[in-house]
Symmetry: none
Subunit: 453 residues, 2 copies
Amino acid sequence: MLTYNLDGKNKYYSLYCRIRDDILRGNLTSGQKLPSKRALASDLSVSVITVQTAYEQLLAEGYIISRERSGYFVAEVNARLPSAQHEGEAEEVCSQKPAFDLVSGSASAQLFPFSVWARLMRSVLSEEGEHLLERVPCRGDLSLRNEIAALLYRMRGVEVNPSNIVVGAGAEYLYGIIVQLIGRDKLYAVENPGYGKIHSAYSLNGANCTFVPVTKQGADPEAVERSSAHILHISPSHQFPTGAVMPVSNRLRIIAWARESGAYIVEDDYDSEFRLVGKPLQSMLGLCPDRVIYINTFSKSLAPSMRMGYMVLPPELMQKYLDLFSSAANVVPLFEQKTLAAMIGGGFFERHINRLKNYFRAIRQEVLSAISSLPFPAEVNDTGSGLHLTVKLPSAPSDGAIRELAERRGVRLRCLSDYLLAPLSGFERTAVINYGGLKKGEPQRIAALFHKS
Amino acid sequence: MLTYNLDGKNKYYSLYCRIRDDILRGNLTSGQKLPSKRALASDLSVSVITVQTAYEQLLAEGYIISRERSGYFVAEVNARLPSAQHEGEAEEVCSQKPAFDLVSGSASAQLFPFSVWARLMRSVLSEEGEHLLERVPCRGDLSLRNEIAALLYRMRGVEVNPSNIVVGAGAEYLYGIIVQLIGRDKLYAVENPGYGKIHSAYSLNGANCTFVPVTKQGADPEAVERSSAHILHISPSHQFPTGAVMPVSNRLRIIAWARESGAYIVEDDYDSEFRLVGKPLQSMLGLCPDRVIYINTFSKSLAPSMRMGYMVLPPELMQKYLDLFSSAANVVPLFEQKTLAAMIGGGFFERHINRLKNYFRAIRQEVLSAISSLPFPAEVNDTGSGLHLTVKLPSAPSDGAIRELAERRGVRLRCLSDYLLAPLSGFERTAVINYGGLKKGEPQRIAALFHKS
């Protein structure tokens, strides 16, 4: 039996480290059976959950493997695991629509308070009249920037000067502006696995990208420090697709790295409004406004068709932005900017977000119970943030098998490995469940599909 | 014991913030034990749930850790955060407006049929309803692309397949897309003198630029042939700022060059609607749809604030566009696209253009007669195209003297040489008169200013 003295704050992590190190040092050898969770827990006087979490982490990173009904075994760690190749997003070859979309579905448009929006549009139209034809300052309409600053304060607890905000036509547009501000000769680090559009937006804009591996705690700070990146693009509050939340110690460590190396951090806060459990996590912007570029959009919260987003720039970069763009008009029509400002200012936006959160809290519960009813082992990893979670399916033969199984049942689904931008092990057999497009009752219906045959 | 005054509606959040800030400021240090939930609750006269929720949030963000059966402790947080300093508002410098603007003024917004536009907006809003929230295909709304194709046929005599049209947020946005389609490793030739924003948009997007001198017949074909450019950006129908119109023989010669070398021609047709004398010249797109990228915007014809334009791509480049962007939504809101489609489809756009042309024909006459009344020699060069002309002032001591003389009279004015992107002779002592912002009677009033003193 393994005998460890587990001290410190985090018992599971400490257990995970001991076993990992023993495997790396050869004290535990390939093929060796590990004690059962229950046995090890009682032996070390820790809870079964602690052991299970440690085992899951080891499993996820490929240190151990699980064999159904026989337990956990040390994996062949020296063998190079075949990496899942990333099929380029040869997207939207409008194949027939799947019955259920767990990849890109979005229900927020259905919940969007269109009558409120239409009423605000009408009133903006009659109140503003021909003023709507005026040139929009390059940063965006001031009334909208004021409302965004107030919103950031209320929802994220950050004080932002509206003059440091830039309104733009969606996140990808803003990524392009960042490249123009910081330069193509710089190295951009993006998370791996990660949201492919971030990487491709930087590449399309001519920037060189490198990858930072993501752990259970988000982007790995050690890898960040080792990288020679000038810009680090991360989603610390809810990493996509792993769902990892970066603890504050790592946030501070990464901020210290940025301060020291003069790098910028792009904090992509794409779904922080949807923390369904507790309050949204503190933003990195609040911790370090002079090195952090904060980005968020309204596509998740309002409608995917609404290409409107904003970024908060450090003063130094805002000066550069004005130098480059002050003679250009903002790309988002004044009409939409004024309407959104009225929506936020009138409290309609937050009311809508609260409605969405209530809705998705119920959906999330349905998803969790649907997963627990699946006729095969399925381990949920969910931090209660945002609109997606991941499910490890240890008994699945391969990632391709998971996708195929789903597809045959009319369910569009991706695995963690589908989001790998460069080969990396430890992300196998894990489905990513975006429940942002599901309606009530659907999670159970989807689960039922896997009971038949 | 921690003593906080918890005011406000949200006690747990306020407690969370206080503890968090105390940790970040070092008032609570790593390893320090926090009071028990019960004790702190009774001490602060709040419910245990309030404290528990605050502790959970702090736990989730990694500020504190929990040790089973011993309670909560401050985590190892490496805080040494300097407070955010906010720099003074560096708002866009609004220097005082000149009395007359002959550089960038635009009167089209005043002539814009706002009541028609507002009516169309209202009807689009009620007809389309929630369809307005649908994702816009990457090329733009099909109804608008159909209308643009029909408009191009009526106004420019070119037959264009709507599926080769891309709608975008203004010309500069489209220039950026062109660089993404053709590549940064290619050489982009722009006209010299020319419109600075074209050159700077390409440069900002990381493309290398070279310059092609402009003669009285537009871009010099010989220089084009000598250049090793892969892309040639020209305005053959009305070069800015010289006003040169490229004769068809040169157009054909340049097309032959493009065919032979595999280069693309960007035909920037920015003000062809405003040919005030005769019909618009035949477009190069009509002559060679497989090598010409045609670009036009609605900022000149509708309002400068309207960042809406389009380009027609050769089939080969359209395929590339779809490969790159088919998973992205179009950046222009569907609402504006539908409204513009209704405006073109209902004939309101062409009626507006005709009104504008009548208006500017009169202004142009006034400008010509005002120039002839100047108390010094002034030779007009005007082709009857677009909304600007040039005036050679042979007796002026220098270009600087021309600008200064104008400025002292409250007239904002530029010379041809101000638009030189690389040194080139032959453009001296020539003022550029953009009369697109003038009202009736103003040309004579401006001329009068030069009689005094």
